[in-house]
């Protein structure tokens, strides 16, 4: 494998190159350890925090996010689940609206009275 990426962990934006196969990856171009970890994660198991909105039964909606990052390839599956779900107002910030999904929960990021 050969992959070039820009590190997004800090504003330095180092250009990192990853070579190798399986566990034997060599990382070059990073300035610090966090960059190396980021590059390896991006090449082996990239994850993302997903944010969206979820319907409330009364027709309004509430902003939500995954409480922890989920595997990147699950983003669209997760979106389908969020789109099909509804919750009931009132909702407080941090309240779990869909529990136990891809190893984390969907929580509200805004309060609705």
């Amino acid at each position: 494998m050969k992959k070039e990426l820009v590190c997004i962990v800090c504003p330095m934006g180092c250009r990192i190159r990853v070579d190798g196969i399986g566990d034997a990856l060599t990382v070059t171009g990073q300035t610090c350890r966090r960059g190396e970890e980021y590059a390896i994660a991006e090449c082996t198991a990239p994850t993302r925090t997903v944010t969206s909105t979820l319907h409330l039964e009364d027709g309004r909606s509430v902003a939500v996010k995954t409480a922890a990052p989920i595997p990147k390839e699950k983003i669209f599956e997760l979106m389908a689940i969020i789109r099909a779900a509804t919750a009931k107002a009132p909702v407080r910030i941090g309240q779990v609206l869909i529990p136990g999904i891809f190893g984390t929960d969907i929580v509200a990021t805004a309060a609705v009275d």
Binding site: I8, M12, T49, R60, K72
Partner: protein, 415 residues
């Protein structure tokens, strides 16, 4: 009805909230925030993506969560927030006029903090040719419609402008099932943060066309497509490079303009580059007792810096109310070669440690930011990479400032 308050803050977004809390904590507790929306938080209420607060709070929050942190601090202190109330005038002697459903309110303020934020450049300001169909939105309007009002704006979109809101909306539309055909950027580089290029475009294979703009809009009732064209170095369309892209939605993310109508009407001089007021190191405008902070002063890249700047303005307004005013002269700070602007634009010679915020004119690598007093070098700060999309800052010490006649900031090669 006329009221009297020590500090009146115009705008209850991240800047207004942080300024209010800081002023209160500096000992001036009679603080009123006036906001036109039904709830405080400003634009953060529609910025449901994450990435806020890493610098300031040490954790990564979404926009509504970041706003809630500051709103809770304001509420905890009993700071009054007038909602759905619009400030219509601020006079140079600090009389604030506002209107709400209850009628007209006049407040004599000890100090005023302007925190009105900014708004987006519209189609009219961009001079794009063609018809005037439905389906053309500023990126922030689309963001509000989708995230707050629950309306999807279209199925097939082109986004003009690769600033952060445009990039964030490319991802948001994709997640909600629309197809984003392209993001076009007039400049030869993106004005957005690298993390947004990676996580909003590359993650979803959305093409970014640099040095490209929208030349013509097609469609009668609803947008049917746009003609895009490559531009040369002087941003003129290159004939023969036109290409038609079918779409029903065009989002415009072409820059933000500080919303300074109130400041202009108050006679506050503005900086022609930032579009915000000219201020000193305490964020006081050229009219005594009127301060400015946040995106109404300069468009920031990160809300964390908005909060920092607002806290500074809040503390300064509190000091003004207590009569602590510098009697020293000010020296001008000017942006020279490679730097688009530098803020504050003037500094009192008795200033403490002072951060100078700036934007570079173009992306560059291995450069240094140099601050000089005349020809004498005060400070050199190396940067491996700089980009106009990311704000830079350097810190001057009181020793550097106290003897200075003028402060000039430039970007130079690093050898």
């Amino acid at each position: 009805m006329t009221e009297k308050h020590d500090i009146v803050i115009v705008g209850g977004g991240p800047a207004g909230l942080a300024a209010a809390v800081a002023a209160y904590d500096a000992g001036v507790t009679d603080v009123v925030i006036i906001d036109r929306e039904e709830a405080p938080g400003g634009v953060l209420r529609q910025c449901i993506h994450n990435g806020f607060g890493l610098h300031k709070l040490g954790r990564e929050l979404t926009g509504p969560e970041y706003a809630a942190v500051y709103a809770a601090e304001a509420v905890k202190r009993g700071i009054r927030i007038l909602r759905e109330t619009m400030v219509t005038a601020v006079s140079p002697d600090r009389e604030v006029t506002a209107c709400s459903r209850e009628g007209i309110l006049k407040i004599e303020a000890g100090a005023v903090i302007l925190a009105m934020g900014c708004r987006e450049r519209s189609r009219g300001a961009l001079n794009i040719g063609g018809t005037r169909p439905a389906g053309i939105f500023s990126a922030g309007t689309a963001q509000r419609l989708i995230n707050c009002e629950g309306y999807m704006v279209g199925k097939k979109a082109v986004i003009l402008g690769s600033g952060d809101i445009g990039l964030i909306m490319a991802r948001r539309l994709t997640l909600e099932g629309a197809k984003v055909e392209a993001v076009c950027e007039l400049m030869s580089y993106s004005g957005g943060l690298t993390r947004n290029i990676v996580q909003c475009l590359e993650d979803f294979d959305i093409p970014l066309y640099l040095s490209t703009t929208v030349k013509e809009i097609h469609g009668r009732d609803r947008l049917t497509g746009v003609t895009v064209v490559a531009v040369d170095e002087s941003r003129r369309p290159v004939p023969g490079t036109e290409r038609y892209i079918e779409c029903d939605t065009l989002l415009l993310s072409c820059g933000l303009i500080p919303e300074n109508e109130l400041s202009l009407a108050a006679g506050i001089p503005l900086d022609t580059i930032t579009g915000g007021a000219l201020v000193d190191e305490r964020r006081e405008t050229e009219i005594p007792g009127i301060f400015a902070c946040g995106n109404v002063l300069q468009v920031h890249d990160l809300v964390d810096y908005v909060s920092d700047e607002a806290e500074l303005a809040g503390r300064s307004a509190a000091a003004f109310v207590r009569g602590e005013i510098s009697q020293e002269k000010t020296v001008t700070v000017s942006a020279e070669k490679g730097i688009r602007y530098c803020l504050p634009q003037r500094v009192h010679t008795d200033a403490g440690k002072t951060e100078l915020y700036m934007r570079v004119a173009a992306p560059a690598e291995r450069v240094k930011i140099v601050a000089r007093d005349g020809e004498r070098v005060l400070l050199e700060a190396n940067r491996r990479r700089v980009a106009p999309g990311e704000m830079e800052k350097i810190t001057l010490t009181p020793e550097m400032i106290s003897g200075a006649e003028e402060i000039r900031v430039s970007l130079e090669a690093w050898k």
